[in-house]
């Protein structure tokens, strides 16, 4: 893994160093953010630090050099996050460190990158290439960079992507001192892989997508480690239980469908997973839609409401927190000079008939280079998969300085 990091960084460093001399179009940007998570209640689990304020900071740099040697694009996007309380939240990640080139009907890239698959807002079962950044936000969308080579072929018939992957990224969990974790400690350093090649196991994927007017379809197949591990319960010599993440090789076949009818967008994601040894099979279905209410608003505001249902045949846990859930949410963009946005959503566990999570975020730009965000994650019922985080409702304050 470290070798892949070194090679990617070296290749990008060469690109950066030579970009100025090779008539490339270069841009550099990034941000530095200070963040405080403030928990409403004291901790529930033994080992969790009693402090309710959890400060930290994060920063990222985005370097982009286009037309290096009149042919290549070099992109570098390292990200670092430090958490003063939970070492499991501290992370360095190469979101992107890649070299890309293209012709009239093809594209190629190699290095670290993030590939988003899917059309849903809340749960994206088809989105399998990159590992989730679980500790950034338990219901967040941030993904970790994945080493890959990707060939894209484009035609009137659609777009076909072929991926070769390696350097698997396991989930990073909160430390024992951190909040928002299972009751039983996790021993991440004892993680197991069904392949003897461990993280170096080659993986592959293929995806086709096409737009037919207002209809978007995509089909994909992935072979590699399932991104959500099976959590094996084990005990140490004193009988104390602990969990070990176990990653199994599997095939995942996915379908995406989206149909737009003016203000209404209907969508679906479906996957079938088959254990590579043929021992187990699981499936997931997400269906729903969004409706744009902009026509009813004054002053150019965009208001979109979302409704989705997500099913996953796997058991519910903090890693798979929603498996028979309806979601309702809204996104309000004021389209003002400060790019003010508000997002609200909640789940409804259809099987247990209860709301587990209510989430809200509001962001606005205080000046050209400073952005403020306030988020709230409320653990409502605190039962079932959410029992160990029952006291972990929290507010997130974030100030982002951009350059």
């Amino acid at each position: 893994m470290r070798r892949i990091y070194r090679v990617a960084l070296l290749a990008c460093a060469v690109g950066i160093a030579s970009a100025g001399r090779l008539d490339a179009q270069v841009s550099l940007s990034g941000d530095l953010s200070g963040e405080v998570r403030t928990f409403v209640d004291g901790p529930l689990l033994p080992g969790e630090k009693s402090t309710t304020a959890q400060p930290g900071f994060s920063g990222e740099v985005k370097f982009d050099a286009q037309n290096v040697l009149d042919r290549f694009d070099v992109t570098l996007n390292p990200y670092y996050r430090y958490d003063a309380v939970d070492s499991g939240r501290s992370i360095f990640d190469l979101h992107t460190a890649k070299i890309a080139t293209h012709g009239n009907r093809w594209r190629f890239k190699a290095g670290y990158d993030v590939e988003f698959w899917g059309v849903m807002e809340f749960v994206n079962p088809v989105n399998v290439i990159n590992q989730r950044d679980l500790t950034d936000d338990v219901v967040g969308k941030r993904r970790l960079g994945q080493p890959m080579a990707d060939v894209t072929v484009l035609g009137k018939w659609g777009t076909l992507d072929l991926y070769a992957l390696t350097g698997f990224r396991p989930l990073q969990f909160p430390a024992a001192t951190g909040r928002l974790r299972p009751a039983v400690p996790i021993r991440q350093d004892e993680e197991e892989f069904s392949s003897a090649m461990g993280r170096g196991q080659p993986e592959g994927a293929v995806r086709y997508f096409q737009n037919f007017g207002n209809v978007y379809v995509a089909a994909s197949h992935f072979y590699g480690y399932g991104r959500e591990p099976e959590m094996l319960l084990q005990a140490d010599s004193s009988g104390a239980p602990f969990l070990v993440p176990a990653y199994n090789l599997e095939h995942q076949t996915g379908l995406e469908l989206q149909v737009t009818f003016g203000n209404l967008v209907l969508k679906s994601e479906d996957v079938l997973r088959q254990d590579a040894q043929g021992n187990g099979r699981s499936s997931a279905v997400a269906v729903g839609g969004e409706y744009n209410l902009s026509g009813l608003m004054k002053g150019g505001r965009t208001v979109t409401v979302f409704g989705e249902y997500s099913y996953d045949s796997r058991d519910r846990s903090l890693i798979i927190p929603f498996n028979r859930d309806a979601f309702a949410g809204t996104r309000i963009a004021l389209n003002d000079r400060r790019t003010t946005e508000i997002q609200l959503w909640a789940n409804y566990d259809v099987a247990e008939q209860r709301v587990d999570v209510v989430s809200g975020d509001a962001s606005t730009r205080l000046s050209d280079r400073v952005k403020a965000t306030v988020g709230y994650r409320a653990v409502v019922a605190g039962k079932g998969a959410f029992a160990s985080v029952a006291r972990d409702s929290h507010v997130v304050f974030k100030i982002q300085t951009l350059f």
């Binding site: 009239n104 590939e115 737009n211 737009t260 003016g262 967008v265 744009n292 026509g295 000079r337 050209d368």
Partner: protein, 261 residues
């Protein structure tokens, strides 16, 4: 004598400024826009750096910086990518638009925070473009799509000393924010110099003025400045710089895959 001259010349003036004999206002209005479209086309692809100044009536100016690239698609429309450079929190955001001659336009947005490309509902076109007085609909209609409007020639008149033909156009596509638009077209160069936008209640909502035209490639006229003033008094000034044409951009450069580059 002066009166006689006026009486003699009046029919000549009418002949020069009215639709020709046999032309009805509808077909003449369409002919004018067909000529605008013909003269505006043939650029292949174009790129420009655009600065957008948002000015409040109450004072205060906010600036946005972006790059706009357009590819002409013969017999259909155009493909456009707008790449935002400033403000810093939207840097890297890109909007890809396919404007079609008859079908609904298609639009995708690339959100760099999640490396996600999301298709935008057609209803989004009536919303403000980056908090400005422009909407996506206004920007899309800069690529003249003849079948998307009904036309009616109104009159010929001078606008700031420039002889113009004034044509009303009524959107034929669904979900427009406008009941009609009144367009002033430079009679010599066949470029749009002013548009009045009337909302669905037929109230004047805003006015677009184009200025500082320059000729490129021997025949293409492009405005360096576009000013949109809303009825509220707020305004947005688009300043176009560093035009480049026929750089060899291809369909691939305007694909969903290109957004993720």
């Amino acid at each position: 004598m002066a009166l006689l001259t006026l009486l003699v010349s009046w029919p000549v003036f009418l002949a020069a400024t009215s639709p020709t004999a046999g032309d009805d206002p509808v077909s003449h209005g369409r002919e004018i826009f067909a000529e605008v479209s013909a003269r505006n086309g043939g650029y292949g692809d174009q790129q420009a750096n655009v600065t957008m100044e948002l000015r409040r009536r109450s004072g205060g100016t906010t600036t946005r910086v972006m790059n706009m690239a357009t590819l002409e698609v013969p017999n259909d429309g155009a493909r456009t990518i707008v790449s935002f450079n400033n403000p810093a929190d939207v840097k890297g955001t890109e909007v890809l638009t396919y404007t079609h001659s008859t079908a609904d336009d298609e639009q995708w947005i690339y959100l760099p925070a999640f490396k996600r490309v999301k298709q935008i509902s057609d209803a989004n076109k009536t919303t403000s473009f980056m908090g400005s007085e422009f909407t996506y609909e206004d920007l899309n209609s800069m690529n003249i799509q003849l079948p998307k409007f009904d036309y009616r020639y109104l009159r010929t008149e001078e606008l700031d000393g420039t002889p113009c033909q004034v044509v009303e156009r009524v959107p034929r596509y669904a979900r427009s924010a406008y009941k009609r638009q009144v367009v002033w077209i430079d009679r010599d160069r066949y470029v749009v110099v002013k548009i009045e936008y009337y909302d669905t209640r037929d109230v004047l909502a805003k006015t677009l003025s184009l200025a500082k035209f320059r000729k490129y490639l021997g025949s293409l006229w492009r405005a360096d400045e576009m000013s949109m003033v809303s009825a509220s008094g707020d305004s947005t000034l688009l300043t176009w710089r560093d035009y480049k044409f026929k750089s060899g951009l291809a369909m691939n450069d305007f694909s969903v895959s290109a957004l993720k580059r």
